[in-house]
């Protein structure tokens, strides 16, 4: 089968090469990211989008500044609502906690709504090794689970696959008759997944935000799988990063609207599902047990290492959709649960096992489109710059980079050396240019990475400063002449 999939464990260079060489992947990305970005712009300009971003930012700054108090408040309110709060320092703690809860409740089958936090801690694998069946229920997640691969986008997990490939998976795994009609594919999924929902013992979801004053865990979905997972099974478990809370109900509705507009360009998602503990006496339906797991897994490190701004992230995916790098290579090339600009920023801090994680801060041209799109106004380019500094300071930069930058700094450090370098370069580059008759089509060493696909101009024969000096000489004599008059 022709796939759009990249092996995440390969080295960064190979992942990127595979992605760039994968026509199907790039078609799929092309078809989707541009459209998502356009829808966001329309939705944000339809309202006072700037004010909305300012207010989200203010609210999130308040949250991070008061994080311990708000977390304690949330713990209190969830407990008072009849829920159980657990704390997890690392991914393995989440695995252990959920497996324990599941064992105690005699769980056989788990349905999951889309959740990046559980992807991050590899919860599915842990539950499966504990003997449970785990079914992803978001349509996109379900497709990639059937295909056996991880999501490649925060909100659109199967963005890397074309409809042809999806149909192939359904024909193989679910005996679907051949069709490319998305509506038919969708109803096949509805039938298959409804069976799973009705027989599941446990539902697991992430949490888009939790309200501290009421202990409400909110999930935002369009399909309704989040509602199903939080309604039908006996046990409902929420796994959330410790930063994903808001102080008040009004804050929740504000962030909700910013999230929907930024993620998919909608005014409102189809469902905003809010859970306040297990079902109450007299309720007809709803889970009888409700657990919330608060996850650190490197988030506090982020704050400590001065990358705390990234904790304002709503996980809307807007920065991915506008990112020209993401658009060329897709999510899998990043090799991390979190891709795109925000992924490059948080992956080095979040406790994930990512091959070549120190390459990610460099996977950006620093064009700034992400910051412009971000509903929380996170300065992603600045953090990428600082992460690069960290890489260098920790001595992880390649030798060539180090040597050339030291040489560069030395050459530029005095006018004499600078001018000499210019002269040498001018001679040297003209040799290469001469060989190719004009522009430079070949350069040696790592610089070949440029000339393998692009020409380079030769240095000017006479630099600006030389021309300027001459001009001034001429001027001066005119000026002097005038003086004499």
């Amino acid at each position: 089968m022709t796939t759009s999939t990249i092996d995440l464990t390969l080295p960064y260079k190979t992942r990127v090469q595979d992605a760039l060489g994968n026509k199907h992947l790039r078609t799929a990305l092309d078809r989707s990211t541009g459209r998502m970005a356009g829808q966001r712009v329309a939705a944000m300009t339809a309202v006072d989008g700037q004010l909305l971003r300012d207010q989200v930012r203010q609210m999130k700054e308040h949250v991070i500044r008061n994080l311990p108090d708000l977390l304690e408040e949330l713990e209190r309110t969830i407990t008072a609502n009849g829920g159980h709060v657990h704390w997890a320092k690392e991914g393995v703690d989440v695995q252990r906690l959920v497996v324990e809860i599941a064992r105690k409740a005699n769980v056989q089958k788990v349905v999951k709504a889309k959740s990046m936090a559980t992807e991050e801690v590899h919860l599915n694998q842990a539950l499966q090794s504990a003997g449970m069946k785990v079914v992803e229920t978001d349509l996109g997640e379900y497709i990639i689970q059937l295909a056996g691969e991880p999501p490649s986008h925060i909100v659109a997990p199967v963005i890397h696959r074309r409809v042809e490939e999806i149909a192939e998976v359904f024909q193989r795994e679910l005996d679907m008759p051949p069709t490319l009609d998305p509506q038919v594919i969708c109803s096949v999924a509805r039938g298959a997944l409804r069976k799973e929902f009705l027989s599941a013992d446990m539902g697991i979801s992430g949490c888009n935000f939790a309200i501290a004053e009421t202990g409400t865990c909110c999930i935002v979905t369009n399909e309704g799988n989040g509602r199903m997972s939080s309604t039908l099974p006996r046990v409902y478990v929420v796994v959330m990063g410790i930063e994903k809370l808001v102080p008040t109900v009004e804050d929740a509705f504000l962030q909700y609207q910013a999230l929907c507009r930024s993620a998919t360009g909608q005014q409102c998602s189809v469902y905003l599902s809010m859970t306040n503990g297990p079902r109450r006496p007299g309720d007809t339906d709803g889970p009888e047990e409700f657990h919330v797991i608060l996850l650190d897994n490197g988030r506090v490190d982020m704050l400590a290492k001065e990358y705390g701004e990234a904790l304002c992230c709503l996980r809307c995916g807007a920065c991915l959709n506008v990112c020209p790098v993401y658009r060329e290579i897709g999510g899998h090339a990043y090799g991390s649960t979190y891709s795109g600009p925000i992924g490059a920023v948080i992956s080095p801090s979040i406790h994930l096992e990512v091959t070549d994680v120190d390459k990610l801060p460099y996977a950006s041209s620093l064009c700034g489109a992400c910051r412009e799109a971000c509903p929380a106004k996170i300065d992603l380019p600045r953090m990428l710059l600082e992460l690069r500094r960290d890489v260098v300071e920790e001595g992880d930069a390649p030798l060539f980079d180090r040597q050339s930058m030291q040489a560069f700094s030395f050459a530029m450090g005095s006018r004499g050396r600078y001018e000499a370098a210019g002269k040498l370069g001018s001679l040297g580059s003209n040799v290469f240019a001469g060989m190719s008759g004009g522009n430079i089509k070949f350069m040696p060493g790592p610089l070949a990475a440029w000339t393998s696909s692009r020409d380079f101009p030769p240095l000017a024969k006479r630099s600006f400063r030389e021309q300027w000096k001459e001009r001034q000489r001429g001027r001066k004599s005119i000026g002097e002449g005038k003086k004499e008059e």
Partner: protein, 286 residues
């Protein structure tokens, strides 16, 4: 962020921060900048000690290597402004202006004295089109261009400095220019400094997308405000054998760009005829 210096009376003298790329690769852009400033009554001084602002090192994480260059830059330009020898510093580059007026604040975070001086200097440092339009109040510089012209918004210029209206206003006023729109005009060309080497494949893919959009726009030339992006875009256009070329806005505004006839660079430096072909030569050839 620093607030830009306000002028009670029109500035009369500026220091040119020509940038190392213009100095070594595109002297004609530097000359065009001087010409534009002088034409509007501004005297230009060129502090010959200047080299590079340090962006390549900073941008790739080598802050230790970039700091001496930043301090050096401040030492050269700040006293000129502080002692009122010049009213402002002008650079024909959005990217280098960003580096010196924005990123120095980050780079020199732990050097309060230099940081303060850099902030003072940054407030008086202007990108060329910003200076022409916002400070001098000029939009029509009396330029002429015969052909279809489009505009590429360079990333730092657009998203760090917020400059977009100014170059567009200047181009709007160019007589004879048939201004055409380009899809994705504000999308990155894929240069990104060392990114173009370290992530050559991605960078090329981004550039190819840009080159395609340029081809679709059917423009004869793409004006922009940074020679770094210009180098990258032209590197692709040239490799792909396209006829269109990216040109610095100062070249357009000083009539250096002639899409039909002989290369403009020769007008500035006739003696460079013996030198290898320039971008503009290729265009004529195409």
């Amino acid at each position: 962020m620093t607030h830009k210096k306000q002028f009670d009376s029109p500035p009369r003298r500026v220091a040119l921060f020509v940038t190392c790329m213009v100095d070594m690769l595109y002297p004609e852009v530097g000359m065009a900048t001087v010409e534009l400033l002088e034409r509007h009554g501004v005297e230009v001084v060129f502090p010959a000690e200047q080299t590079c602002c340090g962006q390549p090192a900073f941008n790739s994480g080598f802050w230790e290597e970039a700091r001496p260059l930043a301090r050096r830059f401040v030492d050269i330009f700040e006293p000129l402004v502080r002692q009122k020898q010049v009213d402002a510093v002008v650079a024909p580059s959005g990217s280098c202006t960003t580096m010196t007026s924005h990123f120095y604040q980050l780079l020199l975070e732990n050097e309060p004295a230099y940081r303060e001086r850099a902030a003072f200097l940054g407030a008086a440092t202007f990108e060329l089109t910003e200076f022409l339009v916002d400070v001098l109040g000029v939009t029509d510089v009396g330029a002429r261009f015969d052909g279809r012209l489009t505009y590429h918004a360079c990333c730092h210029l657009l998203r760090e400095l917020g400059i977009d209206r100014q170059p567009r206003a200047l181009l709007d006023a160019v007589e004879g220019a048939d201004l055409v729109a380009m899809t994705g005009a504000d999308e990155c060309c894929g240069f990104g400094g060392l990114f173009a080497i370290k992530n050559g494949g991605i960078s090329t893919a981004m550039g190819q997308r840009k080159a395609q959009n340029i081809a679709k726009s059917d423009a004869d030339a793409v004006a922009l405000c940074d020679v770094s992006c210009m180098t990258h875009i032209n590197g692709l256009l040239s490799r792909e054998g396209q006829r269109c070329r990216a040109v610095h806005i100062a070249q357009v505004l000083t009539n250096q760009v002639d899409v039909a006839a002989r290369p403009a660079s020769d007008e500035v430096a006739p003696e460079s005829k013996a030198a290898p072909r320039r971008w503009q030569d290729d265009k004529v050839k195409g």
